[in-house]
Structure formats: structure tokens, C-alpha cells
């Protein structure tokens, strides 16, 4: 045990540190702080913190200015846990929307939110990924099978359905939330 301490003393000589021991910001919290304050949000997106003391839970609003979902305002909740960034944030859409990669419960099929998450990825990457889902809905990764099938068959019909769903209309007996801004 003595030998370990002499290593420590050598290090201490070159490294000023110490002072009274106080509680530290956790690694998860610190990483979230860095990611959140350095988000590069375009004008089509904004964050909201319902409890500003809690940076681990917030909502993101996306208002696409091009593509089939233009004119809509889409809300997602982000929940970051103490295992961040080892684990990805949990992201859910709070509205019922007609999208091949988002199911009626708000689950999102985005590779970096699950199978392709890596700790080196940050919240900005997730946000860019979500924005991309509205520009390029992807029928080959369906979470809403009807919507995916619709998109695969006729893009024009799918477009019409997206429009009507965003106005709060019905598609195949399912009523969607009005999400026009």
C-alpha cells in the first residue's frame, strides 16, 4: 500500500489540487450540460424545459420548412438518465402523427436512438436525425406499417394522407392529432 502512495505523492508534486471535498456534478449531468448548451438548433427547431432546474428532461419542437410535413409543429420529449452517454436518450413523439417511422404511441424508429447509439454521439446528432425523418420518411424501416405501405405504393397518395392527418383528419378509422402551427 505504501508504494501506491509514493506514486500519488509524485503526481501531487506536479499537480496542484485539493481543497475541501464537496459534492461534484455527475458525469452524466456534465455531459448533458455540454450537449444541451452546444446544440446548434436551426430556426425550425426549439427546446423547452418544463422544469428549468432539470436539464435531463425537455421537449423539442420541430417545424419543418420543407418536405411533406411542412407547416406542422411536432413535439418530442427527451429523457436522459444517469447512464448517459452510455445509454441513448429516450425520445418520444407526444402527438399522434401519420409517419412510417413513428408509431401511434409516439415511438420513434431512428437507428442512433437504439442499435447504432455510441457514447461519442451527442444530442445534436439525435436532433439532426429527427429532423431528417420529416424530410425523408423511410418506408423500409416501418414502425407504422400502414403509413409505410402507403408511402411505398404511391407517394402522391401518402402526401395527401399526411396533409389530412396533420389537419386532424382520419386515415383508415384512426384520427390523428391536429399539428398545424
Amino acid at each position: 500500500m505504501l508504494k501506491i502512495w509514493s506514486m500519488k505523492q509524485q503526481q501531487a508534486a506536479s499537480n496542484a489540487e485539493g481543497g475541501p471535498k464537496k459534492k461534484k456534478v455527475t458525469a452524466a449531468q456534465l455531459r448533458a450540460q455540454k450537449d444541451i448548451t452546444e446544440l446548434a438548433l436551426p430556426s425550425t427547431m426549439r427546446t423547452n424545459f418544463p422544469d428549468p432546474e432539470d436539464i435531463l428532461n425537455f421537449t423539442l419542437t420541430i417545424e419543418p420548412d420543407e418536405g411533406m410535413y411542412k407547416g406542422g409543429s411536432f413535439n418530442f420529449t427527451f429523457a436522459i438518465n444517469q447512464n448517459f452517454p452510455h445509454e441513448p436518450p429516450k425520445v418520444k413523439c407526444t402527438q399522434k402523427i401519420y409517419h412510417p417511422n413513428i408509431d401511434l404511441e409516439g415511438n420513434v424508429c431512428l437507428n442512433i436512438l437504439r442499435e447504432d447509439w455510441k457514447p461519442v454521439l451527442n444530442l445534436n446528432a439525435v436532433i439532426v436525425g429527427l429532423q431528417f425523418l420529416f424530410l425523408e420518411p423511410n418506408p423500409s424501416d416501418p414502425l407504422n406499417k400502414e403509413a409505410a405501405e402507403d408511402l411505398r405504393l404511391t407517394r402522391e397518395n401518402f402526401k395527401r394522407n399526411v396533409k389530412s392527418s396533420m389537419q386532424g383528419g382520419y386515415i383508415k378509422n384512426v384520427q390523428f392529432d391536429k399539428v398545424l402551427k
Partner: protein
Amino acid sequence: MTVADHPKCGAGGLGCEVLKNLALSGFTDIHVIDMDTIDVSNLNRQFLFRAADVGKPKATVAAEFVMRRVKGVTITPYYGAIQDKGPDYYMQFQLVICGLDSVEARRWINATLVDMVDPENQESLKPLIDGGTEGFKGQSRVILPTLSSCYECSLDMLTPRAAVPMCTLASIPRQPAHCIEWASILEWPRIMGDKKLDNDDPEHITWLYEKALERAKEFNITGVTYSMTQGVVKNIIPAIASTNAIIAASCCNEALKIITSCSPFMNNYMMYMGDEGVYTHTFEHEKKEGCPVCGTLATDYEASGEWTLDEFIERLKEKPDIQIKKPTLSTERRKLYYAGPPQLMEMTRPNLDKKLKDLMDSGEEVAITDPGLPFSLRLNVIFSK
């Protein structure tokens, strides 16, 4: 899990082995922490437990068993989570051995032991020996908090749990596990709403099992069972008794070497693979520059309590060795100043005009992030007299 003379450790698969080895190696004062109770399924390899012990705390039963069997050893059990205890508790040990099954708990004990190191006090540096197994694979490592690579340094190296794309679960399940994951990730929240899924509640597991079974039938998949449901939901990788024995042996050897200095201890990471013969590789895992736990040890920074936060930030910006431009600052208990997003910036802006002494105590740690810093910076802000 814990050992004193002081080692301290858990009492699961690895824990049983570690406790037995420590006692037989002559350690006389051992503490053990474990938050689990004994389940029937543990009896096959957690050899300190008998059928009559089912339902009792592992820590207590393990301690009693080993004390009965090995004369002269005192084992103090604690039935609860490692997080229940603080630095004062961990300070009593000479070293800590852990055989934890969660990343979160490992990160916690690692950060706690790194934080405890006080350069003025030799006793505050507690070597951490960490063991882990996954089927035929395992690893053991020695962490000298603040001196050598810590658990957080190698977190990026961990293979994340192999996840299946959400859309596979939703539309084309191929394996029984896909049906179980579908039930827990998609079907539970859909039907149960905000009700939280409790992995330890047999009723909840039964519900998932039944849903998964129905879905498996629909897709002609066989093999969904209750115990598999439990395993998938709790992310249990089948434990192999011999892997536990090998890793526990390595952990105990290192504990013995550290405490007695009879031989140099491991530097600092051993991985073991038993799936094709026996292969081990020992190497030095290096400290990660900017590791959020050990790479950014707080340095002291002298300031006046009369400075405003704004003044403090301006002075930091002038320091050539720091190189910050648009910093965000916080302490463990509050946000000092957030450079973004707008809502948090508005909220914290009034703090800029407040005096440091009204925002923090002398010696309190300030964590700083900045777009110009790849990592974060920690300063112990000490008020000049």
C-alpha cells in the same frame, strides 16, 4: 460488493466466490454489500445459499455461511444498495472489490472513490478491483483512483447491449427475444400508459410473458418462456460458474498482492476469454485525457467572494491555459450560467450580477463546459481571505 482489512464486495455469483477466496486467503475483516434477496434460480451456482435461504438477503446469508465455515473471520453484511452509503462509509476500507452487474452502479462506485482521494490524506486512496463476467468472457482490473485509468475512462470501450432496430420489433420479429422486447418496450407503455414496468414484479413479468407468447404464435416463433422473459427484460446474460470462479480468483489475488505487497499487482486490466480454450490478455489501459471522472480533477482557483459571476467569467477567459469563449457553469446544486439554449440563458442571466459568495461556498466545485473545450473543466473556487 466489498472487502475490508478490509475488503468489501457483493454476494452474487462473483460475490460468493470472492467472499470464499478472501476468507480462505486470511482476510479477517470483510464487509459485504448486496441489495438482492436469494432466488431459487441462484441456487445452482451461488453455493453459499441453500433452498431454505430463498427470499433472504444474499449479503446476510453469505456472511453467516462463510463465518460458520472459516474460523476467525468477521464478515459484516449490509443489505442494500452501494449508493446508500457515502464516503464516510467507504473510508473505513483498505480496498474495494466489486462484482456489480450494472454499468450505473460501477460508474457510481468509481466516481465516489475518485472523489474521495485527498492528497493530504494517504488513507483516502482506496484501490478498486473490479470484476465482471458475461457468459464465457470476463475481465478483472485494478483501478488506483486518480492514478490509473478509471472505469469511466474505458466506458466507450464497452460493447453496448446488442439492440435490435425498433422497426424489427414492431413488424418483423424473428426470434423469441424480439417478441419479449416488443411486449416490454412497445406493448406495455401502449396498454399500461404511465404505469412503470417493474422487472422484479412477477405479475408484470407474467403479463409480458403472455403478450410475448401470443405474438410469437402469430409469427410462428417458438421458444418464449417465463424465465426467458425474465432474462431478456432484466438483461441477464447466462452466468457460467467457472467464469465467475476464474474472475473472482483474479480479483482476490490482486487484493492479496495490494494489501501484503508480496508481489506486484496487476497493471491494470485483464481480459479472459473461455469460449475457445483459455485465453487471457493483460494490458495497461491508459487514462483517458479529459475523462469526466478522473481526467478533470478539480484544480484550485482563487477568487474573491465579492466578484460578480460575470467578473469571474471574464477573468477565466483571460487565463491563457483555459481558453474558453462561451462557457456554461454549474455546481452540483445549481446552474450558475447557461450559455444556451435561450430559455436557460434567460433564466440564469440574473446570476451574472450576483456575487460569488451568494452563489456558492468557498471550496465548492464549479463545472465548466465550453464549445472550445473538448471536455469539461472543474475548478474548486476558493475565496481569498
